[in-house]
Symmetry: C2
Subunit: 435 residues, 2 copies
């Protein structure tokens, strides 16, 4: 039991009574009976301050009204509006992170807490979703977040039930996914992870903010995002993203290397399609220092035959060198993906994100999650970029990654409400070095 | 050979000719013959762009003059003064990080690159020091830094020779140290790591900026900092720091928990003395919301008997929960330590750092590195805080940690130039969960 194992630094851990009762009184939670439940954990939410140990009662402020779950020092109350330093801050936002005990999250959570992603006037609550197996590690992560004393990080809670963790979240960063077992191919992974994302979609639908933004990182991320979206009909389909930003960043770096320029000179790079080996890094529309890339890099053979492979092999090469997968740069790319939605896109540029295809101007099949070029006004929303070139070479590759995503969708019909699944994925297209 | 193992994304790796020749022409490097050399690695510095692969010649700017070592995309040239976005930036600074392939660095390097530590108008060059064994992992780290596209990160080089890596550095963050072997106590660790820090001190003395700031994290960090300082007589003794900021941060969090307030209410917490179990977290001078802490926390028994243990056991508890040592929060505390030196200390507050005791106003023995309360005007320098209370309880504990540091100093006499070592450390005082 986690309670018995609590650190001596926590005087006495206990379930917050109001949290316990809320599990059974919230009518939304009655939907849980239809969901394959993982083992229940009655004491999954901890609060390490008992009322009689708080020596200085601080007036309970509006900010903490309705706060039911907390970890350690994040159980203490505060009033942002009462203080000179913080009264101009925005209202607190809730951010859920799944796979919170994993290595990518271990980088990302500290970035979020620092203010680097959402801004230095944006206080945040982090809601960490883990598993039964990772629960102690989650406590360790929460302890390290405590010890970091980030002023903007006002609340941290940990849990293993998405219906609790996703309550009122404005952002859900879905990183957790089962890794591939030995011999497992993409189809097997689609099924096993699809079930997780179907459940998480239902939970988001039930308890998250009605305009929650959802970024899926766990693989296969495009189809996981589709499954999640289909199970959350009350959240706009446009709000679901699959992460292809690491691929975009890697593509920009390789184009910079090839052109012999610093990477800040490379813009307008689109990753099209699936986050798999069928993905299409687009050099046709890319620019170097504002000029069409092909005017600068004239090695067409390299662009057509080597460039894509280099990007796709990057993760595998990194694992060989570094001994583990690329957690730090993945976390950076997640931060980039979020920042691209909450800050205006620079004039003339765009960013890639795996988004819902309905209404796209490129002729891509509807009803899949496909990475495309996006622009944002910084309000969390985006629009697809209209003026992009598509030549025969690009089109042929778009068709291939589109076909793969349509096949992946057929594999998960049982999870999207479209009926029976029929799985005919022709080959294993997992990227080297990915889970 | 690292060259043969280079990733396919690097068209052709080669030693930069000017870098090779500089190894033998720099008169400072002739001192190397007196230093116990680790195995030489002639191709330790890589540049993955061959001149004939750079298709767009960019005018070589002043910024990159004299640049001899580089990794991947960081070999490309740039001119910060030529561009609207960057021309108001400060001049590039060189930051060396040892133990660069380790987990603490894996968090810290990305923080440095993001601008979070040195500011968003401060371009940086990262010079990564690793070992023969970790060289491939260093390449992996450099690849992830490339893929992160941080605009402020202009140069990255990797190496295993401190005389190359420390060239012209303004900051040296010395994280790397040998971990304790089975059965090894503090005395053994002092000797084995002391030799590393003696060598690195000599290298800093020979090639670093004359006003370089040196922050020692590798344990036993106080005495390692002393050894490093003694071997670098040309760098002001005041510039050497041993990290006790993680202890300070943990102390603040525990005091906040105990007081039932958010951690931003806790100030004026000093960690005195050694980064070991004799360290003295000072609750006498600490404040909660501007009031003396003891007016708020009246559980004197807890303060005197439990508080220090809780902080010291924190690392051990974290390892049990999280399965590894606290890399993320350590990196945060390193960032905090640096920021405390380059931004003015808030009015009335202070921060802890292990610094040279000569001239201290507390009656601490001279000629050791002892953590004390510091204030900075934000210029990289600091002054010791004069108006602190020292009562009998605090004094007794200061004497104990002082005695330990004097004993540690006797253990490393052979490394500080004071003659033969005489080691009489009475007990093992390594902090739980530390290397």
């Amino acid at each position: 039991m986690a309670i018995a194992e609590l650190s001596p630094s926590y005087p006495r851990a206990r379930v917050h009574p109001s949290s316990l009762s809320s599990r059974f009184s919230n009518p939304l939670l009655s939907r849980r009976r239809f969901i394959p439940l993982r083992p229940s954990r009655p004491n999954g939410v901890l609060c390490s301050i008992a009322p009689n140990q708080i020596q200085v009662p601080v007036a309970t402020p509006a900010d903490s009204a309705g706060k039911k779950e907390c970890f350690g020092v994040f159980c203490t109350t505060y009033d942002l509006k009462a203080e000179e330093k913080t009264k101009s801050w925005k209202s607190l936002i809730n951010i859920a992170v799944s796979g919170a005990a994993g290595m990518i999250s271990n980088h990302l959570l500290f970035k979020l807490a620092s203010g680097e992603v959402f801004g230095y006037d944006q206080p945040i609550a982090l809601k960490l979703l883990g598993s039964e197996r990772s629960f102690q590690a989650l406590e360790g992560v929460a302890m390290e977040l405590e010890d970091s004393l980030y002023p903007l990080l006002r609340e941290v809670s940990i849990g293993i039930d998405p219906y609790e963790v996703f309550q009122d979240v404005e952002w859900a960063l879905l990183i957790g996914a089962k890794p591939r077992g030995p011999g497992m191919e993409r189809a097997g992974l689609l099924d096993i992870n699809g079930q997780i994302f179907a459940e998480q979609g239902k939970a988001l639908n039930a308890v998250a903010s009605r305009n929650a933004k959802v970024l899926v990182v766990g693989n296969p991320c495009n189809t996981n995002a589709l499954i999640c979206m289909k199970n959350a009909p009350n959240i706009p389909a446009k709000n679901f993203h699959a992460l292809t930003r690491l691929d975009e960043n890697r593509a920009k770096c390789q184009l910079a290397l090839k052109a012999g320029v610093f990477y800040d000179k490379v813009s307008n790079v689109t990753i099209w399609g699936n986050h798999s080996t069928t993905q299409v890094p687009d050099f046709l529309n890319a620019k170097i220092d504002g000029r069409p890339l092909k005017e600068v890099i004239n090695d067409i053979k390299w662009l057509e035959e080597e460039f894509t492979n280099i990007i796709q092999n990057r993760g595998g090469v990194l694992i060989k060198k570094w001994g583990r997968s690329s957690a730090a740069s993945t976390a950076v790319s997640i931060a980039d993906a979020i920042k691209s939605l909450i800050t205006p896109t620079p004039e003339g540029d765009w960013f890639s994100s795996g988004v819902y295809t309905n209404g796209n101007p490129y002729g891509i099949a509807e009803d899949i999650v496909f990475s495309m070029p996006c622009r944002s006004q910084g309000d969390g929303d985006y629009e697809l970029v209209k003026d992009v070139l598509i030549d025969d070479f690009l089109l042929k590759r778009l068709r291939k990654t589109e076909a793969e995503l349509l096949a992946e969708k057929r594999c998960v019909g049982h999870l999207t409400g479209e009926g029976n699944a029929y799985c005919d994925l022709p080959e294993d297209t997992m990227l080297p070095g990915e889970m």
